[in-house]
């Protein structure tokens, strides 16, 4: 870790995300056991592993959408500004337009979002033309990007938990997303994400491959 990063970590007042003795099973299969991890503000965590190895389960545990068999997750704030989760499913209503969906999502999170801000966010992902189209008329990649537009709205929450955010994105969007994640980390935010391919990040993220933790 660089000196600047360490300084920033020291300055951050938020508690780290901590996984303590986390054990989870899916039906008969044990996914992971006694997982211990400490993630400081400003760090990026890339969770790797084969399909079905428990990456999604771990992310859902962190968000509190699942209960572990043993152990606990600490440091996740469920108050306003604490958590943003984008899972496999985009979390959008198909019969509503991209704009309507984005504004509803922002209202649920308690974030300000007027029409102009929503359009800017969508345009940043190249969806300026699709703003008023129904989500079920968009392609899968476009729908993913509508969901990702929540990252660009004002007052983003501190912890971002993203499940396969780079999937179904073209190269330019992948680079843009990587830049956005790093910008968020620079400001003291934390990102936990899964990805099959190595994201083009300038600074190597911490990685977690099930069974081993590397830095």
């Amino acid at each position: 870790m660089s000196l600047a990063h360490t300084a920033q970590t020291l300055a951050a007042p938020r508690p780290p995300l901590a996984l303590r003795g986390l054990t989870q099973a899916h039906g008969e299969r044990l996914l992971f056991a006694e997982l211990e991890l400490l993630l400081q503000p400003g760090e990026l965590l890339w969770v790797q592993g084969a399909n079905g190895s428990g990456k999604t389960s771990l992310l859902r545990l962190i968000c509190g959408l699942a209960q572990p068999w043993a152990g606990r997750v600490e440091g996740v704030e469920h108050a306003k500004g604490g958590l943003l989760y984008i899972g496999h499913l985009p979390g959008l209503k198909g019969s509503l337009s991209a704009l309507e969906n984005l504004q509803a999502a922002a209202a649920l999170e308690g974030r300000p979002c007027d029409g102009a801000q929503a359009r800017t966010a969508l345009a940043a992902w190249g969806l300026a033309e699709q703003v008023d189209l129904r989500v079920d008329q968009l392609s899968q990649g476009q729908a993913r990007r509508v969901a990702l537009a929540r990252l660009l709205l004002p007052e983003p929450p501190r912890l971002w938990v993203l499940d396969e955010p780079f999937a179904a994105l073209d190269e330019a969007s992948v680079r843009q997303l990587a830049q956005r994640l790093e910008a968020h980390a620079e400001l003291g935010g934390t990102v936990v994400f899964t990805s099959h391919l190595a994201p083009p990040l300038q600074r190597a993220p911490r990685t977690l491959r099930f069974g081993a933790l590397s830095n």
Binding site: A25, G27, E28, L30, A33
Partner: protein, 247 residues
């Protein structure tokens, strides 16, 4: 959970429970057989013929205890549901699930003995009076619980079924007084036929077999529930042992 809790809580740990239930079970089966059979014998052969209902009243030796056990089992289920949800102990959920089939059986027994009583006495197999209607609804609540836990469970992972079942049991137990009251109110509104056996006074010679049968059936219910609980616990421990071996 801290170890400084009341000693009773050590039975929340599976090994202690297995030990306790292992000692109790043979005793309970013995009591059930002894008291139940003697109660039945006395009730069928020794107790005198009733002035109003003739021989048919003898079914109440089974009907009355069965009705009580069915209700108490549901209350016990709700209690273990509450303990399980608040303490998170697996054993609470195991006991909750173990109670359901026994409770359902006794609820069904209530209905069946009620019908067997009604036929020779009133001439019909079924009347929609407050008692029997409530008993039918209780039976349906049991079926709903068993159906839900079975449908919601993941294979080998009973946690989701535990929680959903616990919630259902709690909602049910809160609703049960309202349910009974509404059925009672409905029955008085329409002044339907009353199958109530409570009208008859109990001669002491009738009371003895009733008490014996009651004790015997209670012992049976407890024995059945504990045996089933041991079985469910063993299943869960087997799954966890497989994980530990795989980890």
């Amino acid at each position: 959970m801290s170890t400084a809790l009341h000693p009773f809580w050590r039975y929340a740990s599976p090994p202690q429970f297995l030990q306790l239930s292992g000692t109790l079970l043979p005793l309970l089966w013995a009591v059930a057989a002894l008291l139940g059979l003697s109660g039945l014998a006395l009730g069928l052969f020794w107790a005198p013929t009733d002035a109003q209902q003739g021989e048919a009243y003898r079914i109440l030796f089974l009907h009355v205890p069965a009705a009580w056990i069915a209700m108490v089992c549901y209350g016990a289920m709700a209690l273990w549901a509450l303990l399980g949800l608040s303490l998170g102990t697996h054993l609470s959920f195991v006991l909750m699930r173990a109670l359901a089939p026994t409770g359902a059986l006794f609820a069904f027994l209530t209905l069946w003995t009620g019908a067997l009583w009604g036929r020779p006495t009133w001439g019909v197999w079924w009347v929609w009076d407050a008692r029997l209607s409530s008993a039918l609804l209780l039976f349906l609540l049991y079926l709903g619980f068993i159906g839900l836990t079975a449908a919601v469970d993941r294979p080998q992972d009973p946690r989701r079924g535990d929680r959903a079942g616990a919630l259902l049991a709690l909602v049910g137990v809160l609703n049960l007084p309202v349910l009974y009251f509404s059925v009672q109110w409905w029955s008085t509104l329409h002044q339907g036929a009353s199958l109530s056996p409570a009208g008859s006074r109990m001669a002491p010679s009738m009371l003895v077999p009733l008490l014996l049968c009651t004790a015997g059936l209670w012992a049976y219910a407890a024995a059945a529930v504990l045996s089933r609980a041991r079985l469910l616990l063993a299943e869960r421990q087997a799954v966890q042992a497989r994980w530990r071996a795989a980890a």
